[in-house]
Symmetry: C2
Subunit: 379 residues, 2 copies
Amino acid sequence: MKPRLMTPGPTPVPEETLLELAKPVGYHRSSEAKAILAEVSEDLKYVFQTKNPVVTLTSSGTGGMEAAVSNCFSAGEKVILLIAGRWGDRWRNLAKAFGLNAVVVEVPYGKAIQPAQLEEALKAHPDAVGVFATLSETSTGVGHDIAAFGKLVTATPAILVVDAISGLGCMECRTDEWNIDVNVTGSQKALMLPPGLAYVSISDKAKARIDANQSSKTFYFDLKKYLSKIAESDTPFTPANTLIKAQRVSLQRIRKEGIENLWARHARMARAARAGVQAMGLHLFAEQPNNGLTVITVPEGVDGNAVLSKIEKQYGIKLANGQDNMKGKIWRMAHMGYLDLFDVLAALSALELVLHEVGFLKEVGPGVAAAQQALAAKA
Amino acid sequence: MKPRLMTPGPTPVPEETLLELAKPVGYHRSSEAKAILAEVSEDLKYVFQTKNPVVTLTSSGTGGMEAAVSNCFSAGEKVILLIAGRWGDRWRNLAKAFGLNAVVVEVPYGKAIQPAQLEEALKAHPDAVGVFATLSETSTGVGHDIAAFGKLVTATPAILVVDAISGLGCMECRTDEWNIDVNVTGSQKALMLPPGLAYVSISDKAKARIDANQSSKTFYFDLKKYLSKIAESDTPFTPANTLIKAQRVSLQRIRKEGIENLWARHARMARAARAGVQAMGLHLFAEQPNNGLTVITVPEGVDGNAVLSKIEKQYGIKLANGQDNMKGKIWRMAHMGYLDLFDVLAALSALELVLHEVGFLKEVGPGVAAAQQALAAKA
């Protein structure tokens, strides 16, 4: 069986990147290692669409989120949290852990925060010094209008901090143009690497906050240290240097495709996925779906867990279940990482076959046919 | 040229472990992933020689050290720091970052902290709640008598926290028998993996402190979360799962050799290294050298940097320079990781050849001959 990993992280990694990981390990303080980090840092700026430094942390994406919270803010400072699911909740938990005064703007699972809601919150809380958002809320499949958020936040003293962990590199995300002050992502999503690295871009506005922060209690995630070291293409602590070296290979692939082409290809994959599942009579869970993953509401009378299990066991395709209390209620089909149009078609085919097998669908074909039409259509 | 990485981390990784890293990436919440983490956790207990849980963090070793400091202690609490070099200094910097009240017991570079010094400090500070030590001080090559430290600390309310990052797995280290409450190591030293993972063992005495700690400001390194998850062979945040899978392979190698055989082999390698360099008329920098690396004082009139550079360029052997203000003053030859007796012989041979080339040695041969005699000798 040919496995296809279609979860919203980790994602499939290109063969040439995997082979890089099998090469002998080098010394992390050599001039070669610095040259590699320099190249990776430049390519990350391209993927982030930023002129600001992007630092590399050896941690999961949550480590990058913690770095943003602990470095940019002091206990008691007021921040606005935009929460539309489990990953927005991670901002809430981090804000709590570091004693921030959180104003929460929240919508139910499946809904997206609207710019007008942020506008209202900013008006009601002119003393807020930070706004936390999520580009791709992978627990629900919602994508947020970060560009609109940025326009609102940039006019205030607050900084905009974005969790772009599962979106950056597959969805349009223009860090500088959209006024994102701190943008956080991880290696194991659209950047086509195994888990282990987090990347954080830092604007001048954010850096001023970091520099002014006297009360930060952090050491491993001290962004001042990372910023001073990245200027010499180095890191303050031993980095996962083989992952960095392999990241170079996946980033070269992204460079070669071109970031706008990559966004367009993921948009095409997402359109096909949405058309396919809707043609099977299924409903999208997200009111404002993003291009990194398609989240499907499990229809009445269908055992959601059993369907996923069949798709994996019979066809080798790993889709993600809902998390926590969403388990069994939604299916999450990611189309990010080293996947192409035909992997999406494969996933739709398997889903259609299994839904037919369990009696939900009378016939097969409309799902993949609709996807095929979406692939053929002009954007 | 055949490269030999003989720095005290990263270290060479066995081919079968590297190949594991080239395999397709899997989902980190699958039952397969949990079974792998369970196996790795058990094998880590064996390497640590502990019955207590060993948690896996996705970070460098410093992340593990931060976890120990931030979870076990509150700001203002008194701790004793045993500092004999740059890595002891890391404890000082961490204690400062988290506001601990640090009592420092310090010796000059090259010297080792003696148990009597700790005994005195414990008597003078009966209110100390923690003692921080370093098993292998890789900046100087000193090894500490952790067993003796443990005997002293266990009789007090304090917990013993050890940085065993570059020692565990190559030097004798018996976590439970030696009364180490929190033992921290990293993946990229004797455990024969690239950098990216830190491992932390936690005794009941340490756990009681963690549970009672209300003021801890940490999220990513919250050991309570890792302890509750490891009980179900899971992690709170996306782990570097391909590294964990590869760690299994290197740990199987350690299991197969047997931990006591492995300690004995490293002791033999260290004896050969010491005999070899002394037979070249060189001096050991550490008064109490450890078995993971041999640190050599650069003799008068020899350009320490140039010698290292020649060894690397002409013979492919990478030794480590001194760090910070020790640069050019010492050479650090690590013999840990996937290296054997003959790699040590290779390094001595290259060193002897280069010292001959630069005119420090009149003849070559005595160095490798002395090493050979040490290899033949009974321990």
